[in-house]
Subunit: 220 residues, 2 copies
Amino acid sequence: MARMTVPVVERVLSANDRLAEQNRALLDEASVFALNVMASPGAGKTSLILRTIEALSARLSIGVVEGDTAPVTIDADRVADRGIPAVQVNTAGACHLDAAMFGNALAQLDLAALDLLIVENVGNLVCPAGYKLGAHADVVVASVPEGDDKPYKYPRIYRGLDALVLNKIDLKPYVRFNEDYFRRGIALLNSDAAFFALSCETGAGVAAWTDWLAARSRGR
Amino acid sequence: MARMTVPVVERVLSANDRLAEQNRALLDEASVFALNVMASPGAGKTSLILRTIEALSARLSIGVVEGDTAPVTIDADRVADRGIPAVQVNTAGACHLDAAMFGNALAQLDLAALDLLIVENVGNLVCPAGYKLGAHADVVVASVPEGDDKPYKYPRIYRGLDALVLNKIDLKPYVRFNEDYFRRGIALLNSDAAFFALSCETGAGVAAWTDWLAARSRGR
């Protein structure tokens, strides 16, 4: 019988990655599905979260973590107004959430009571890409008025996504946006990310997104 | 005669600030006015630069430094197509330009031949605020579809500006944007920044911006 050499691959984890794994273990233990929502400022992260709450809160128990660079509670208030538990993480100027910040937020939530935890990362298309949180799915919200070239200009954050949400499709008649060019850019970086074109303003296309998310959350 | 005590204030400069001062000295020696343009991804930095070149290149000799996180030359090509000297700085994933990168770009330009140097920073509303380049004016380009709450959510980058450009005013009929609320947020952080509402798409309002910039450049 041929002798096989089994290579021992040691994965070297950064401090952040180790904390992200701890976060994931906590979430798994409580059967909570966590979603990390990243985007440019103003792409519509909060609007997507509010639409998602509207569609799913009757079926799933939802919590939200809001990452902000300043001690303003504009987004956290909008979520809490819907009766959803929301924890605000003020990064004190830092440009992304990291696993330690997310771990601190988890400690403030009653995870046993939740099915789905949505994390609104800091509005930034560069830095959040470098910091895993321990979430089960990473999503970028792009928006039509940002332009169709963003996957080419900011490739790192578009790589390894579970889903891409293209928001503000109601503005398509008024701006130049080549959706084929945009989607080719996404496909170059992700062979199998789900794609949802929608408008949080009109509600068009939101159901496909929330169905996908609900199926993944219930699958846990 | 009353004796006055003159306090000796030593300004402690960071390594970046020292390099920024060197950059400023180089620019001043060559009588070049340098503008640092910051914004979210997709707010319209490149479009504003192209409109500015269109309006001013007959009167002023203009150069451009393009900051990108990836080795794509989409923006630099658009500038070079106009016959304008453009240097691309690839930050290799980093989220901002710093004074050292800008210094390297300056070394590649014939400063004696320029009147105005426009720097397109990395698209990011958080990190560029922390790194002075040595430019004479800092400008943020905001855009109507990003929403009116950005000065409240990302205050650091809106602080200490010389001018605020609000782009994409042609989209005002199609989105909710309270300009009073937006401008109050800017005024809270800047007592005297110039304000320009314009559309790079239609050209509306661009002349006021380019007149302001030309007057500042010629003033050197």
